[in-house]
């Protein structure tokens, strides 16, 4: 589902917790970032961030669908991913994942409430170069 509201473009996806479907989320994030004018390196970072969020949600969830919303508003690219469950994940992989998110994202947050696990990750697109640069 693609929606536009108040200058933000949001791509929303709901998919079963199957690892092979994470690629779909990566492709969608890549396409949305390209629409926003992101360069190749930034697109790579966003794909990595989306992948890490989805991988952790699939591992953490209780079999429920994974819900992901990708929002582009100006230079701000936000990833919100959630599922039902706790955080029963491989701690060593998860620590690697957090280190990666710290490097590729401006900020990232994990919340657990009401039986849901939710990641909110913000990446910034570089400002467009001025004309003639």
């Amino acid at each position: 589902l693609v929606a536009e509201d108040d200058g933000a473009t949001t791509v929303s996806m709901v998919f079963p917790p199957q690892p092979r479907l994470v690629r779909m989320a990566r492709l969608a994030s890549s396409a949305l970032a390209a629409v926003g004018g992101a360069d190749v390196d930034t697109i790579d970072d966003i794909k990595i961030a989306v992948d890490e969020v989805c991988a952790s949600l699939i591992e953490a969830g209780n079999g429920s669908d994974v819900r992901v919303a990708l929002s582009l508003a100006g230079e701000r690219f936000e990833i919100v991913g959630a599922t039902s469950g706790g955080l029963d994940v491989d701690p060593e992989r998860f620590e690697l994942s957090r280190q990666i998110l710290r490097a590729v994202a401006e900020r990232h947050e994990l919340t657990m409430a009401d039986g849901d696990v939710r990641f909110t990750v913000t990446c910034l697109l570089p400002p467009p170069e001025p004309d003639g640069a």
Partner: protein, 102 residues
Amino acid sequence: MSVTVNEGPDRVLVAVAGEIDTASSASLEAALLDAVRGGQHLDLDLSGVRFLDSSGLRALVVAQQAVVAQGGRVTLAQSTPLVDRLLEITGLDTLFLTSGSA
């Protein structure tokens, strides 16, 4: 993802190509552990890797630990900027020799 194994008497070269993510990392881990079961040193060619995430990194670490436990060494023979960056971000670059340091 594809994995190609070239086995020698003392070293085994494993070339990995494609996307290493949560869907493929278990296969990679199994392939690496199978490749090094003879106790050889492991040379990794990751130049064909187009995508890598924490699941894939974890598979590499498990293989590295298995090789070291058998007295072997793991060398990163070829890589890509993306792989190098993720290894550096996570501090795992110190686990692997590079072809220049082997």
